[in-house]
């Protein structure tokens, strides 16, 4: 998948450059990346939901044999929400302020032509029981402003999964929540994976959220996938120099680190690259601690490492 934007001021931004991603049923894949890495563009392109100035240059999105990008608009609309769903950072924006949230979840079922009125109500009640337990009844009749940020995000999740989609794409769903609520949302998604076999693409910039949660981690930098592998391996032994540097930026409070709080935190030197021009060499080369001569001469391919992991770096092949 390659996506290019045409910003209003002119020029071009190469937001996504040949990203390949394969997901198997029931897997949680974490997409780890910073601002401008292309992770949200990847999410939006999977459902052909790019902004009007975004162009898919090349690529296909194949869901169980069907290329979603070749579908007619009305066919695509049937896929969105029923086979593939999307949740965002700000759930409040997606909710109608003057409608009870239970009814808003039912509305999704109605839009996709599911069941009669009574059946829809029963499905939503069942789902809210699963998500909110004893509070389900009160939540059903609440308005969005009466709920906390975490509760609203759980309503957005309920809307997203009420039609039993195959795939849930979650684009930074916890970014605006505090750390305790963040954990609760992640635990809910894990439970939905276990109990309903949901497949989840979870986009985040917080690596620690993925620990114990994601099965696989894909790391993005400057519009490219630079690493793809088993979650524990990527977190414990990050191969790509960018992944290594990124994980070091986050203190862990393990060992003696906490008492060294007069020392500076390891940083990634420099700034993220400008994506308005195509790069000749590796996009991370100017900031990389391990750079070699070849890195500025041509761009690395993605190379296989042990246990099915993949790394886009000349240290591992080429």
């Amino acid at each position: 998948m390659s996506v290019r934007y045409r910003p209003p001021g002119g020029g071009e931004v190469f937001a996504l450059q040949g990203a390949n991603l394969q997901m198997t049923r029931g897997q949680i894949v974490g997409v780890l990346g910073e601002s401008g890495s292309g992770k949200s563009t990847l999410a939006a392109s999977l459902l052909a939901l790019l902004p009007v100035n975004g162009v898919i240059e090349a690529g296909a999105v194949v869901l169980q044999g069907t290329n979603l990008l070749e579908l007619e608009r009305d066919q695509l609309e049937r896929v969105r929400g029923s086979k593939v769903s999307l949740i965002f950072q700000e759930p409040g924006v997606a909710l109608h302020p003057m409608m009870r949230v239970g009814e808003q979840i039912e509305e999704v079922l109605r839009a996709h032509g599911g069941e009669g009125k009574e059946g829809r109500r029963a499905s939503v009640r069942g789902l809210l029981d699963l998500i909110f337990g004893g509070e389900a009844e009160r939540i059903y009749f609440s308005y969005p402003h009466q709920l906390s940020g975490g509760q609203r995000q759980r309503i957005a999740i309920a809307q997203a999964i009420v039609c039993k989609p195959k795939l849930l794409i979650a684009d930074e769903p916890t970014a605006s929540l505090d750390s305790v609520t963040r954990r609760e949302i992640v635990e809910l998604l894990k439970k939905l994976q276990r109990e309903r076999g949901l497949t989840i693409l979870f986009i985040t910039h917080s690596a620690e959220l993925l620990e114990g949660f994601a099965d696989r981690i894909v790391v993005m930098y400057a519009g490219q996938i630079v690493q793809d592998g088993d979650a524990q391996r990527v977190l414990k032994a990050p191969g790509h120099p960018y992944t290594q540097a990124l994980l070091k930026c986050r203190p862990t409070l393990r060992g003696s680190e906490v008492v060294r709080n007069d020392e500076r935190i390891p940083m990634i030197a420099g700034e993220a690259p400008d994506l308005s021009a195509r790069q000749k060499g590796c996009a991370f080369e100017p900031r990389c601690a391990d750079r070699m001569k070849i890195c500025s001469e041509r761009a690395p391919e993605i190379y296989e490492i042990e246990n099915g992991g993949k790394v886009r770096c000349f240290k591992f092949g080429g």
């Binding site: 949660f213 990124l246 500076r264």
Partner: protein, 274 residues
Amino acid sequence: MEVLLTAENLVKQYPSRRLGGRDAAVRALDGVSVEIQAGARIGIVGVSGSGKSTLALCLACVEKPDSGAIRFLNRDLTQVDESELREVRPQIQLVFQDSSSAFNPKFTAGEVLEEPWMLQRTWNAAERRERGAELLVRIGLPGNIVDRMASDLSGGQRQRLAIARALALQPKVLILDEALSALDYSVQAQIANLLLDSSSKAALAAERPAIVLISHDLVMTARISEEIVVMESGRIVERGSTEKIVRAPKHATTRELLACSTGVSGKFNQRPAV
């Protein structure tokens, strides 16, 4: 060390936001006392709604507490009038999560930076320009940024600019209310280092503010602060040196914050499902 800013038994109540509901005011601060030493780094942590932002606003004299005292340089700031507050405010600076909303959208980065000096009528244009350039070097922004529109900067650059502007008047206290939370971790590390540098012993005493870091992220807060205060429902539930809080947390809230902000593998099987 000299005590610089203290809050004594602060109480702040907001009217309930519930429509048509009974009178159920929210006690955002319910008897909170903190003491900030000159040049110290203190972290105030808690989940949403714990009252930590209200405490920040009260310390910065943006909100007035219902009762209690805020002492700064032998004055109770809750008792002084607006003209006296105006003298104090430059010395207690506040930086928010979304600093772009605090910038004039028609200003260049250089104008944003020089605005405090213009308002205080210190320095002429050439001096402002020179001092602005010095400040940019100190916070690690490229000098050519001054001519760019502040709204065109990246999130991390904007936040560094906000901190630079807050430091421009050499405040005695710098309060950061979730100022790192929305940023990428690599950018958080840059800003954390900027804070560590500006309060390090190597910095000039006059340029070394006390830093008050308000956050829900115990990990980054612990890495920066020497002392931590944990809040819940408008009260302080635990306080102590960073090492004590991290190594031997006593209160359940502290333990939960710790568990939730560090990735602990296998944790999913240990906690009951939501």
